[in-house]
């Protein structure tokens, strides 16, 4: 199932993000997938997210597919050159993957292999373009393919209030290349989301708002200082302040539901990033529905 198709069908689309294991044991990953599978239209598998080395998403997408779960494969331009990127995509298509999310990735310095060489052979928009070409039966160099994928291609965007013209231009460029939907960075202010939607309205692509549950007041402050474009307003942080470890999840679930309900009318879907809190996904999805 292609995400863009699902959205075109008119439903509020829910995707949920899981991180591959650091190592070869996939039990935790599978448990997490089982917890959310009935509450999400698709599960996105991240690609060395935040520059932390983990198992390749391609293989985990295949595992999901074999369990009848619709995967979205993240593919990051930082770690592969154009040969590797294209071969990954073809491999994914063979595994039955129909959705990819093209991302730039964090600087290697924030991750766990700070001496790694960032590749950045292609830009995001050229990778979008390459994926579209693969869909059309050609590789980047123009050679014909034997059999071709049918990817629905997504891109990420920072949803800021005052989106700068070059940011809009960048998105416009990617959409022009063939991107079919946008997944935003986490947004904690509905007004920001509204402003973002407004500024990209002429692109005419569906938007999924992403969401990270707040684990604690400190975690929220950490995001504010370390994730560009993320702003958790003070009133939300105060809700969690002084709560004990046991009290936080219930409060946090409620905050997520309230917030997402307010943003639901602005967008076409939501992308949950539970990061270990998969057990709360069902309550949030039910609460927002």
């Amino acid at each position: 199932m292609q995400i863009s198709e699902a959205i075109r069908g008119g439903r509020f689309c829910v995707t949920c993000e899981l991180t591959p294991p650091k190592g070869t044991s996939i039990q935790g990953f599978l448990n997490a997938a089982d917890m959310v599978r009935n509450y999400a239209d698709a599960i996105l598998v991240t690609d060395n997210q935040r520059a932390v080395m983990r198992a390749a998403p391609l293989i985990l997408c295949q595992v999901l597919k074999s369990r009848n779960i619709e995967p979205v494969m993240e593919i990051c331009i930082r770690d592969h050159n154009r040969l590797a990127l294209q071969s990954q995509l073809l491999g994914a298509a063979i595994a039955g993957v129909e959705n990819v999310l093209v991302v730039a990735g964090h600087d290697v310095l924030v991750g766990d292999h700070i001496d790694a060489k960032p590749v950045n052979d292609m830009s995001c928009s050229s990778l979008v373009q390459a994926a579209v070409m693969l869909n059309q039966g050609k590789d980047l160099a123009g050679h014909n393919l034997e059999g071709s994928p049918r990817f629905s291609i997504g891109i990420e965007a920072i949803a800021e209030k005052g989106l700068k013209p070059d940011q809009v231009a960048d998105l416009r460029e990617k959409v022009a290349q063939g991107a079919q939907y946008i997944i935003t960075q986490p947004v904690y202010e509905p007004e920001t989301m509204a402003a973002f939607v407004e500024s990209v309205s002429d692109l005419n692509v569906p938007i999924l708002v992403s969401h990270i549950m707040l684990r604690s007041a400190s975690m929220a402050r950490f995001m504010n200082s370390n994730f560009p474009g993320v702003n958790v307003p003070d009133y939300l942080i105060r809700e969690l302040e002084g709560l004990s470890r046991e009290e936080v999840p219930a409060a946090s679930v409620q905050l997520s539901i309230d917030l997402l309900r307010r943003m639901k009318p602005l967008c076409q879907g939501m992308h949950l990033m539970p990061g270990g809190w998969e057990r709360y996904v069902p309550r949030i999805v039910d609460g927002v529905a």
């Binding site: 924030v110 684990r215 950490f222 470890r245 990061g275």
Partner: protein, 676 residues
């Protein structure tokens, strides 16, 4: 001082020296800073010093701070200590306190980044969050304050505790009601603590300790009853640690009714390893931080914060019983009882007597909670036939209640009124509060009693005649005041006769000669005893003979730590079913034993024996320690001569030089030294 009362300790864990300086600058000497440079030291200091706030900065190698943050958050000791994560040096991406991925999972109380700011500016930025967290520490301490202790100790507050029955079973209506009552009490605020009895009536019931931790979660202070009937000293200590760890701090130390015959396949084994006096002593040691030794290393345990009370049964008909009750109460207070709840009774003069007794015996400041039980006819009948040990309902009171039960409401309003009147009297007499109980009482009823009681309190003296239910020929400590119907400060004449059976006279003479360290006999016998003690065969023979003689004379049970000297040559191990070494339990009735009504209570006999030569007051003097089970089955006379038992230690008999003594003797001596 209990560790939670220190409010200015801050622990900085970081391998980045600059941060320590910044924090020093930020708090300007208002807080005491301890520094730990690595994970191991940090954990150790967090657990040991129990700081009020932990500031965690970068620690080598990357990833360590996050791991440590986890351990602190999940740790039993450290889980509630506020934690502030600080990113001090962000010039270097690789040396940030957390990676991005870690940052999304932190559960600290606060996080702050000082990126690209100099020391002075950093200090200014840190001052606010630190102050905010310290404020929160203060509020937590306030919220965490022991409401019951405060209410009992505050002379302006009349403290209300509500007694609940745990019930046998795991999913029963009693438990449903108990939790519901606790929930309502927590919401409404009239009640300061909900108390849960411990296997009441000697029947098994769901654990009061576990229920009380649940009660605490509902937001009201629990009062745990701890009866020594079912638990030996180790189990008591262990249960108390469990309670302390989960924040339950109020305990009522009780001997406990004898085990009922309703146990699994018959009556349970009565334990009574400690008595209430011992329990209070143990708790006092725990509160001070108990010393103990593991693998040759002496350590002091972190102090607990218990607030303990105890009971007294003043509704006794005879002089000997009553005096012994007060002697024991005196010991309980010396052992650390911080408040007292008397047994049930409906006699204004007795209610007044306790307060007067405490005042006249130097215990003016010991708060007492009146025990008020809402008494229906059935329970009254049971108490009247002595069905509830120590609870007294006289014939006259029973007749009154039977009359009231004929009312349209089956006596409901009358019994609630009676409870409210007792409440009013307690308030008038200077009680610190009321301990209210009653089967199936709703929260509304409880409030009704409190409200009416408060209304009637100013004219409490008028109510006294309504509580004139003495036991026939009942003994009172003080003479009656005919004007008030209460007591004068003059002690009543004590006419009970002493008793001097021949065995007692014989034992006294034998004691004065043979068991007196300054006597010639003792001194000359000691070398011989030492010889016997060192020879295995002679020792066994001696043990056998001593046992035979003492069984014949005293019903000895061979505990090896003889308490005959302490109880007028009556063996508390064999003659008292509850092995009480410091005074009677609350259950005796007209001088007869609660458990064995054909026998006189051992303490009544002891009192009479001592009274025969004017020495009954000795009972109050020494707190007799619990038997040392290490000596079980050994000859107590040898133990005395060799300085191994509690009496020898009391008299200062030192064990002979160890070269000659057996290894075991030396060891046991060392063991006792640590416990003493």
């Amino acid at each position: 001082m209990h560790r939670e009362e220190r409010t200015n300790q801050i622990l900085v864990i970081t391998s980045h020296q600059g941060l320590v300086g910044i924090i020093q600058e930020a708090v300007q000497g208002s807080l005491e800073i301890t520094h730990a440079a690595d994970e191991k030291e940090g954990l150790e200091k967090a657990r040991k010093n129990f700081p009020n706030l932990i500031v965690l900065g970068y620690i080598d190698p990357p990833g360590t701070a996050f791991q440590l943050h986890r351990k602190l958050r999940e740790g039993w000791i450290t889980k509630n200590i506020p934690l502030l994560l600080v990113d001090a040096d962000t010039s270097d991406q690789a040396h940030r306190v957390l990676s991005l991925e870690e940052g999304l999972q932190i559960e600290a109380d606060d996080y702050i980044t000082l990126s690209g700011v100099d020391t002075q500016a950093s200090a200014t930025r840190l001052a606010r969050p630190i102050a905010a967290l310290m404020d929160r520490v203060q509020t937590r301490i306030q919220q965490n304050a022991n409401v019951l202790r405060e209410a009992i100790l505050d002379p302006e507050v009349f403290c209300i505790t509500w007694e609940q029955i745990p019930g046998r079973g795991a999913f029963e209506m009693q438990q449903e009601e108990l939790i519901e009552n606790a929930r309502r009490a927590a919401k409404k605020g009239t009640v300061h603590a909900v108390s849960v009895t411990d296997n009441p009536g000697g029947n098994p019931a769901i654990s009061t300790e576990i229920l009380c931790t649940e009660v605490r979660k509902l937001g009201i202070e629990p009062l745990v009853h701890l009866a020594f009937r079912d638990k030996n000293r180790n189990e008591c200590e262990s249960v108390l640690y469990g309670l302390a760890g989960l924040g339950v701090r109020n305990v009522l130390m009780l001997t406990g009714d004898y085990p009922s015959d309703g146990g699994f396949k018959g009556r349970s084994k009565p334990v009574f390893d400690l008595d209430a006096v011992h329990g209070l002593q143990m708790l006092d040691m725990m509160n001070a931080g108990m010393d103990h030794e593991t693998m040759g290393r002496k350590v002091k345990l972190a102090p607990t914060d218990f607030f303990a009370g105890s009971a007294v049964s003043p509704f006794k008909a005879t002089e000997s019983e009553l005096l012994c009750q007060y002697y024991k109460l005196d010991k309980k207070i010396r052992a650390g009882a911080k408040f007292v709840i008397p047994q049930l009774g409906y006699d204004a003069r007795k209610m007044h007597e306790i307060m007067l007794w405490l005042r006249m015996h130097g215990h003016v400041n010991v708060p007492v909670l009146a025990n008020i039980y809402i008494l229906p006819l059935g329970a009254a009948r049971l108490m009247n036939s002595n069905g509830i040990p120590g609870a007294v309902v006289s014939d006259k009171l029973l007749a009154t209640i039977a009359e009231e039960a004929k009312d349209k409401d089956k006596g409901r309003s009358a019994r609630i009124m009676r409870a409210a009147k007792m409440y009013a009297m307690a308030k008038g007499m200077g009680y610190a509060g009321a301990h209210i109980g009653g089967h199936g009482i709703s929260y509304e009823t409880l409030e009704e009693i409190v409200q009416r009681g408060d209304e009637m309190a100013p004219r409490w003296r008028d109510l006294v005649p309504e509580f004139d239910f003495p036991q026939p020929d009942g003994f009172y400590f003080f003479e009656k005041d005919p004007d008030t119907g209460l007591n004068t400060e003059r002690s009543a004449p004590r006419k009970e006769k002493g008793a001097k059976p021949p065995i007692y006279q014989f034992a006294r003479v034998a004691h004065a000669t043979m068991f007196n360290p300054s006597s010639v006999v003792f001194k000359s016998l000691r070398p011989m005893v030492k010889m016997i003690d060192n020879s295995h065969r002679m020792k066994s023979a001696f043990e056998f003979c001593e046992h035979l003689a003492k069984v014949a004379m005293f019903g000895c049970q061979n505990c090896g730590d003889c308490a005959l000297f302490d109880v007028a040559f009556l063996c508390p191990m064999s003659q008292c079913p509850k092995s009480q070494r410091n005074g009677p339990c609350g259950g005796s009735y007209l001088g007869w034993c609660e458990v064995n009504p054909e026998k006189k209570c051992v303490w009544v006999r002891a009192y009479q024996r001592l009274k025969s030569h004017g020495a009954e007051g000795e009972i109050v003097e020494d707190i007799v320690p619990p038997p040392n089970w290490e000596l079980m089955g050994t000859a107590s006379w040898l133990n005395f001569y060799m300085g191994r038992d509690h009496s020898a230690r009391k008299l200062g008999i030192a064990p002979p030089e160890t070269k000659a003594g057996s290894k075991k003797a030396a060891q046991s001596q060392a063991g006792q030294g640590a416990k003493a």
